[in-house]
Amino acid sequence: METRVSYTLVRKRLLKSLAVFAFFMVYLIGRLAWVQFIQGDELRDKALAQWNRGLTVQPQRGSIYSRNGTLLAGSATAESIIAIPSEVKDVEGTAQALAPILEMKVEVLRERLERTQFEVFLKRKVDDDVAMAVKALKLRGIRTTIESKRFYPGGNLGSHALGFVGIDEGLEGIEFFYEKELMGQKGYIVYEADARGRELPDAVQAYLPPINGYDLVLTIDEVIQHIVEKELDRAMLDFAPEYAGVIAVDPKTGEILAMASRPDFYPEIYADYSESTWRNPLISHSFEPGSTFKLATISAALEEDIVTLHDGYYCRGFFTASGRNIKCWSSGHGSQTIKEVLWNSCNPGFMSMGTRLGKEKLFEYIRAFGYGGRTGVDLPGENPGILFNVKTMSDADLAVSSFGQGNAVTPIQQAMSAAAIANGGTLMRPMIVKEIRDENGDLVKKIPPKEVRKVITAETASELSIALADGVERGSGVYSMVEGYRMAGKTGTAEKIAPGGGYLSNLYILSYVGYGPIENPRIAMYVFVDGATKGPNWGGQVAGPIFKRIMTQVMQYWNIAPNDEILQPKLPEEIVAPNFVNLTRKQAMDKADQEGFSLRIEGEGDLIVGQVPPAGANIPFGTTIIVYTGPGGEREITVPLLEGLSLRETSELLSLFGLRLEAIGSGIAIIQEPLAGTQVESGDVIKVEFGEPSQE
């Protein structure tokens, strides 16, 4: 009986004990959930802050080499001064001692030394003598740690491609894009801690060495990059533009051989430059391309058998789309072959091709050439550009797209699409890093060229290359022709879009795209000069010579034998000055571009009101023709020709001249009063009658 009672008691007490343990375990699960879910975010942030505080040892960042093996970006070690606040017994004395050496305020140091952190950076990446001086003081709780400091032996060379590194990580360019590869793996300094956690760590117990970052080998050719940079510097002096840039690629692989733009910066002291300077305009700048875009239109038209190069086209000086007469830059080229349309850069000819192709087909090719989407280059911040929406665009939009207006594209897209024609019609993905190597120089990864798509057949591409090269050699290409080599090329002059919409009247983006030698294209290049404020204002004489000079030097560098039969065309000694009066700036520039004149435009207005020497005079070839625009305050204004313009265009044009519009009817301008060419005062009213265009 005694035993049985005891058994019951024991059983009861066992169950009670079990219940206490079970209760505690369930409480612990609740506590775990509380710590992980309710306090989780806060604790995670604190943990992250602690890990980033610098108990780590930075690995040496990988170097960046050109394809020739020269060092473009490297890392040297630099020491950082750190403090372990809990070890610093004499805060005031320590702060006083360090302040002059570190060139820091005593208050700042005092605040840092008193922080309740495990470790605090006092000053990062100091010079060797500073680190030595700090170490010589043998201050308690003050240590140094080795970090990596970035340097760029080439100075500004390739700054936009390379980018730069902040305190801990790449922030722009290749340094940013390949952060993971360059960074390496952090090492750790480990401190001894008492198992009861009652004493703060006192001595470094262990050091886990960091793993250094990988090296990158670029596709950039150091020599070509130097040539390009030198020519850009010259262009900046000659034309004082807002921006200028060159991108050169190997058409067969898409490897970027050179990439440079102005204004540039010195990556070691990137913070001294404005943020807008850091952006790489070759991939981030998107603008209306102008005539260089005609390559896409003619490629599509030839590929789709809409035209052959020998077909005829008659230019009347304008092309009608959506009831609008869109003008050619000339008063009319008359009868031409399609090849001549290309050579003359005849806008109606291209509008006709674009219209016959239709929106869907033309934009299918435009997209196939890589416009309207990122090229996929291994650089950060690429802009895809903007194309018309095929579903909502008008016939006029289609027409202007055919000769390079209305769509925004980037320099790299233009370079790659020209390279595609050079490469027998196959578009490549541009690339700037070709190899990743470890610190011993052993290959980790080789990045192969990548074909994007076949855009046009090799036959079409070859036919177009020859036609383009013929055009260059026909005389108007005198400024861009590379003597001894057959080069395909096309100039472009694009109006700049004003920040608020509409075009800026006096600033242009002058460009040139080309490749060669066409028998075996080794290099394709796009050159642009944005907003030149001095010198000639047209593409052929600004961007063309840059292309020519770079190409000439590259051909010599590559030891490509020149063909003596390909010579600069003989130029006539004297020619007759053409008329520029009553042309718009753009028309005048296109005309000068095509006919091989150097033009200087004076004045703020859009319409040319006078020229020196006058039309019809005999002048030596190469003479600069100076033209004047209206209006000039109280000066007399020549009334422009308004016939054929829409109401909106008329109003815009007149407001440019400081004239007022009195409109009658709707449609396009038919009759104007006073007549074109009449001298009037600023602010005068021009009566314009609008109506249906007369049938032709």
Partner: protein, 367 residues
């Protein structure tokens, strides 16, 4: 005589799972350090693995050894234990490994004699409760003698001075005395007396007041984040980083620097960081199953000695697990108790597996 059956399957299963999780996490939390110190990543894993294999053999032997025969070993185990506790103070044999624990070096292996003390005290108390079952409700003949013994043992351990282990053993014995029928009034009085003495010490002796501040720092570790709050904060940062699914096996950041010897006392924090709430809760549930089976075995044991022995062994594991988890989760003061079956530690693992073996043996005679 007593009928034999198969050993308790759930107890065996939860033991294997905890052991497995322990091996994986010892490797995960120690590999980087091991590589640094010994040029191989698996130094700690290998040692823990060897002891796990040895421990499983001991567990098997324990499960085959009829538990009532342990009554014959109560005296020898007790005296060996006293000898070992004294031996740690003999120069050349005993040594300080950490500030508060003393170890014995046997050349090939170092071990903490308190691992033996735990077993010795469970065996002694279980036997005492059976032998004195007629007087156990009395204070003088029932409770006082065992209090003197536990006082002596505690005194020896406190000389190391290992407060955490002392508390573990005292708590285990108290729970065992409660299970054995000692009057709650008596136990309560003893606890109250102890409490009064400690309160008086804290109030009147400055040194103890200072100690109290240290011990209670877990209540607000952020007051002294680089000092006494350090480990608790680092543990909570690890756990908090884990969230539901954890940062992934092997991906702990806290194990690098912030938690010293993360494969030891704070291995549970690394489990919670790498495996998240899912892993952390699983470990608690496995311990819950283990404790539940242990107490079930005690309830079903055919005789009083079997009941007390099973209860005592289960309680030893339960108290250690509770204290360790409570410390790591920031609800108890830091004590230096490892997580049974999971934390790195050769002889401790060996002893815990031996306890499981004995429990398995008792389970075979369930009524």
């Amino acid at each position: 005589m007593k009928t034999r059956q198969g050993p308790d399957a759930l107890l065996l299963l939860s033991t294997f799972l905890l052991l497995g999780i322990g091996l994986v996490m010892v490797y995960s939390s120690s590999s980087v350090w091991s590589l640094y110190e010994f040029d191989i990543s698996y130094y700690y894993l290998r040692r823990q693995g060897i002891f796990a294999v040895l421990g499983l053999a001991v567990m098997y032997l324990g499960s085959r050894f009829n538990y009532w025969n342990w009554r014959r070993f109560v005296q020898p185990v007790f005296w060996v234990n006293i000898l070992l506790l004294l031996l740690v103070f003999v120069p050349g044999v005993g040594f300080d490994r950490t500030e508060a624990q003393r170890w014995i070096n046997l050349g090939f292996v170092q071990f903490q004699p308190t691992d033996v003390t735990k077993f010795a005290m469970v065996l002694f108390t279980a036997n005492y409760l059976v032998a004195k079952k007629e007087y156990i409700h009395t204070f003088k003949r029932g409770l006082l003698p065992v209090l003197l013994v536990i006082g002596l043992i505690s005194g020896l351990i406190m000389m190391q001075p290992d407060l955490g282990t002392t508390l573990t053993i005292m708590m285990t014995v108290f729970i065992l005395l409660f299970g054995g029928g000692v009057r709650v009034l008596h136990l309560g009085s003893v606890a109250a007396a102890g409490g009064s003495i400690i309160t008086a010490l804290i109030l009147f002796v400055p040194r103890f007041r200072y100690q109290l501040a240290r011990v209670t720092s877990f209540l607000n570790p952020w007051e002294d984040p680089t000092g006494s709050g350090w480990q608790i904060i680092q543990s909570l940062l690890a756990i908090g980083s884990g969230s539901l699914g954890g940062v992934g096996l092997g991906a702990s950041r806290q194990k690098f620097l912030y938690l010293p010897e993360p494969w030891s006392d704070f291995i549970y924090a690394i489990i919670c960081e790498e495996l998240g709430f899912i892993g952390g809760a699983a470990v608690i549930i496995l311990f819950l199953i283990l404790i539940w089976r242990g107490f079930r075995i005690a309830i079903s044991a055919p005789d009083l000695f079997g009941k007390y022995l099973a209860m005592g062994l289960t309680t030893i594991i339960a108290v250690q697990a509770s204290i360790n988890l409570g410390v790591v989760l920031g609800t108890l003061p830091v004590t230096g108790i490892t997580l049974p079956l999971v934390s790195y530690g050769g002889t401790s693992l060996l002893m815990n597996l031996a306890f499981i073996g004995i429990l398995l043996n008792i389970s075979r005679y369930s009524t």
